[in-house]
Amino acid sequence: MLTTTTLAPPSPALTRSGALARLHDVVVLVRRNLIHIAREPLQLSDVTVQPVLFTLLFVYVFGSGVPIHDGSYKDFAIAGLMLLNLTTSAMGTAVGLISDITTGAIDRFCTLPMWRSAVLVGRSLADLLSSALCIAIVAVTGLAIGWRPDASAGSILAGFAIALLFSYALSWACAALGVVSKGPESAQGVGLIILFPLAIVSNAMVPTAGMPGWLQVIANWNPVSSVTAAVRHLFGNPNPSATISAWPMQHPVLAAVAWSALILAVFAPLAAHLFRQKTTG
């Protein structure tokens, strides 16, 4: 039975503003999104099973066929695998966001006295945490099969950081994609069409030198290549791209940061704008 209790007088502390309240909303939503990731098998496997699977498949299947001059394929591949996994799982941001919009979760949020953009910020940060888990799993799998970084701890950490920075920027681009997509399935489809070539037409899994000339140009200027080269460089792993004259391959760390900053500068405001438009119909 329903018990009828009398309501206490309206609770105080409902007037809120300022950075602290916004931070609080973000934290609440990060927690909520992490629960989602943990409970949705597909999203969870994107950052747990898939990294292990890809690492083993690529190293043992491709490894034999791709000669790497200054080292083993294994040592070459781990940075690339991190980027491959991060890039393809970025779709999760788009899918998650449009799911929230279509299921009405956003409608609930938007009638609450909260900071609306916390929906986007909270999602991007939760996805950043799952990205961190993803590359940690690639690293552990790599270590287990014999991958070894050859650089100072600081440099290795910088390698991880630069991969995550890019992944974070990419999640804002995917957020924009998610907001304008028709539904979770279409977000998934469109995301795949964009992200898969982005990940593959790069130096992530094979050196670009073997590609046709025109494709080499695209691959060398692909942001994924810059980031992969930067991570290889910082890990002290073989980096065949270092001999390529294209500017990003000569300055991979700078290029990786610049690409990430550019993507973030374009897509964060765009995603926020599209989201605001979508939620005030």
């Binding site: 329903l2 299921t103 009405g104 609930r108 009638t111 006295p113």
Partner: protein, 324 residues
């Protein structure tokens, strides 16, 4: 407490609202009645700051819904037509999250959640993921979520659609309880019975305009007269013709041809007259009833179609004009 003034809203070529005005005094409950696509949800979305009107203004709890949306959000609770609960979270996690996003400290949000789970008979299922909840449980959790902040104004968009009779009665009981505590409520419904039962005042909308407004009693008085319904032992070709002279307007016949309905002026001896007229034409009558108009009849006479055109039983009533 709620004031809507000439609200309009179009979606492409569809005019969802074509100038809707109404007001809900503090502490009262307004029933907004209308068929599918009438514009009820659109009106609620504007008043709850989820949509911006093309034209017109609205105030909720003294704040403009467009210019002072943030202030409005601090005063309202919303139960949307489609449940907005988070399926990956447990019932308790849902309520705690809503509390926290409304500005409660985690501890306060937790104790408020526990209170509401008890009140809505969800304590047992509180720590299960809501994906497995039944329709009634979802509805209750959704309503609980809209009460977390003890809002002074509550919007309920078809809160009982799809509920079984027991759950509906429980929901009604809760709504009455809220009104008695002084909450102002806007309730949309397709069920005339529900509006009749709960609402202090009713606005009837159809095709984005208010077509009638008043208390249930006033609306019933507005169409006046009474309703005659006759059940025949078996369909008869002369039955409609026999009644035509005795009733006001059209006779509606059910698909099986056995039930006839019409508006009548209630006069003494009407039942006898009806039976005699039918008998004289060789029609065998099982049952005759003359009753005061229900809100269903009001709705029918206002819109020319039943409230539940698509799913209710009025759909098998055809209007036959002067058939002989």
């Amino acid at each position: 407490m709620i004031e809507a003034d000439s609200l309009t809203k179009s979606f492409g070529a569809t005019k969802a609202l074509a100038g809707v005005s109404f007001s809900v005094p503090a502490g009262s409950i307004l029933g907004m009645l209308g068929p599918n696509g009438a514009g009820k949800t659109t009106a609620v979305r504007i008043l709850t700051t989820l949509a911006i009107p093309d034209d017109g203004q609205a105030k909720v709890a003294g704040h403009d819904v467009v210019a002072e949306a943030a202030a409005v959000r601090r005063s309202i609770g919303v139960t949307a037509q489609d449940a907005t609960i988070d399926e990956a979270l447990t019932g308790r996690q849902n309520l705690v999250m809503v509390g926290e996003l409304s500005g409660l400290k985690r501890k306060a949000a937790k104790s408020r959640a526990a209170e509401l789970l008890t009140r809505f008979d969800l304590l047992e299922a509180a720590d299960r993921v809501t994906k497995g909840y039944s329709g009634g449980m979802r509805r209750r959790l959704d309503l609980a979520a809209s009460l977390v902040t003890r809002p002074s104004v509550l919007f309920l968009d078809e809160p009982t659609t799809g509920l079984d009779p027991t759950s509906r009665l429980l929901m009604w009981q809760v709504i009455r309880g809220l009104v008695s505590e002084g909450t102002t409520i806007l309730l949309t419904t397709q069920y005339l019975e529900e509006a009749d039962e709960l609402a202090d005042r009713i606005v009837v909308i159809d095709h984005g305009t208010v077509i009638a407004e008043g208390t249930a009693a006033e609306l019933k008085r507005q169409i006046g007269g009474a309703r005659l319904s006759v059940t025949l032992a078996e369909p008869h070709p002369r039955a409609v013709a026999a009644l035509t002279g005795l009733v006001d307007g059209d006779v509606q016949v059910s698909q099986d041809g056995r039930r006839l309905q019409a508006a009548v002026r209630s006069t003494s001896g009407l039942g006898t007259t009806v039976v005699r007229a039918l008998d004289a034409n060789g029609v065998v009558v099982d049952d005759v009833e003359v009753r005061p108009p229900s809100l269903d009849d009001v709705f029918f006479s206002l819109t020319g179609h039943g409230a539940l055109d698509l799913e209710g039983e009025t759909c098998d009533l055809q209007v036959l004009e002067g058939v002989s």
